[in-house]
């Protein structure tokens, strides 16, 4: 993905030359990986002559942001653990009736303070 983001596009031989060769990865493996990334929606492809050329469907920053959103949402859903002192409970919510009651209490207190 880093290579495709940097160059804007790439085919199997191109990625193999710049990424695979240095790591001893064969072109079959590069091809499978690009296909998996395409299946996951991170790449789109078009056929040029006999080969597919792959392009990213989102920028690196967009992907990072989406991934981070998912990680934090998982935290809030209790699907992952983190020993963090969060500002509000990550997994338990106050029901709407509680929130409305608290809002009324706060509004009354504000009114009393402003009056004073």
């Amino acid at each position: 993905m880093e290579h495709v983001w940097s160059c804007g596009r790439g085919d199997v031989s191109d990625v193999q030359e710049h990424v695979g060769a240095a790591r001893g990865i064969r072109s079959n493996t590069v091809q499978s990986t690009l296909r998996r990334l395409y299946d996951k929606g991170l790449l789109r492809r078009r056929k040029v002559s006999h080969a597919y050329v792959y392009e990213p469907t989102c920028t690196r920053e967009e992907w990072q942001r989406d991934t981070l959103d998912r990680v934090v949402d998982d935290l809030m859903a209790g699907e992952t653990d983190a020993m963090l002192a969060a500002f509000v409970d990550l997994t338990e919510r106050a029901g709407p009736e509680h929130l409305e009651r608290l809002e009324r209490l706060i509004a009354a207190r504000r009114k009393a303070e402003d009056g004073a």
Partner: protein
């Protein structure tokens, strides 16, 4: 297993177990009594109460060993020879005697250690699991000098402090809050960092393994609430004020609730949140300080603790004798 080690562990577990039963007996009236204390003092007491069984078990056992150890230098301190009686085990580094039949004592010790290990292991497992997530979150963000926090590029509303006292806040949260509420949130998290709440809570959880499970859960929940309230008060007093702090709590709760409703609707749990008591506490008059025992009170308590060691030590030896008969 060496006799001294066996008797030492047995003593620690018996005395610690007795202390745990005592905490279980008094914790409800005690919690009612300290409800009006300032959150910071409540938190301190709850930390002490949670680790009390292990601390009492260990300290009383060690105190009981002191006369025997000192008798090597001052023979007049030697109290073991006064016991008399064949087969009365001595928990003593000078006159340790073997149990006639140690099986039951060994079973009790192994069972007690397994109990502590099980509850401690659960805490350690959660900690190790959480380290990966925390590392990833901080790696994804960038430290902001002005905020004194790591800014996370996500729309998800998150503000939190980790075990190392580092503050994490999402740009999505900051964008959604009014300036005074942003200040309130950040000051609250910095208060957690200054108090080292996440780390102290972890250590307390690790050392509270001798508590009865239901009592432990209740006390930990009360401690977590007290820590949050202490940071609410500290943040409110540093500028925003109690009402703005309450407003910030409500605003963030609504943001998180809205986010969960859209992105993880099936997982929202209602009822265990601390937001309600925290807002109510901020809108109520501030708590009173805890009554201070003073030097004389503290001295009397310490003296009573030390003088109790001899009868407790002897009681443990009697019980060990009954177990090993």
């Amino acid at each position: 297993m060496s006799t001294v080690i066996l008797l030492f562990l047995l003593s620690t577990l018996l005395l610690g177990g007795a202390a745990a039963l005592a905490v279980a007996a008094v914790h409800r009236p005690l919690l009612a009594r300290i409800a009006g204390w300032t959150p910071a003092r409540r938190a301190s007491l709850l930390h002490a109460l949670l680790v009390a069984p292990l601390a009492v078990g260990l300290l009383q056992t060690l105190l009981g060993l002191v006369p025997g150890a000192l008798s090597r230098v001052w023979p007049t301190l030697d109290h073991c020879l006064e016991h008399g009686g064949v087969g009365h085990p001595h928990l003593c580094v000078t006159h340790a005697s073997a149990l006639a039949e140690p099986t039951l004592a060994v079973v009790l010790v192994v069972g007690g250690l397994a109990w502590i290990t099980f509850s401690t292991a659960a805490v350690l497992r959660d900690w190790l699991r959480s380290e990966r997530v925390t590392r990833a979150l901080f790696a994804a963000g960038a430290y902001d000098d002005a905020l004194r926090a790591t800014l996370l590029p996500t729309d998800s509303p998150l503000a939190a402090t980790d075990l190392r006292g580092r503050v994490l806040v999402s740009d999505g949260l900051l964008r959604s809050l009014a300036p005074i509420h942003r200040t309130a949130v950040l000051r609250h998290e910095h208060a957690h960092a200054r108090r080292r709440d996440p780390l102290r809570l972890l250590v307390t959880k690790l050392l509270s393994g001798l508590q009865l499970p239901a009592v432990r859960r209740r006390l930990i929940a009360e401690l977590e609430l007290a820590c949050e309230q202490a940071c609410d008060e500290e943040a409110a007093a540093s500028g925003p004020g109690r009402v703005a702090m309450a407003e910030a709590l409500l605003a963030v709760e609504r943001l998180v609730g809205a986010r969960v409703a859209v992105h993880r609707p099936s997982t929202a749990g209602f009822g265990g949140t601390t937001v309600v008591p925290r807002v109510e506490s901020l809108l109520a008059p501030p708590g009173r300080g805890a009554p201070h025992p003073g030097v004389r009170g503290a001295g009397l308590s310490a003296a009573a603790f030390v003088f109790a060691s001899e009868p407790l030590h002897h009681a443990v030896e009697v019980i060990a004798g009954m177990l090993g008969a």
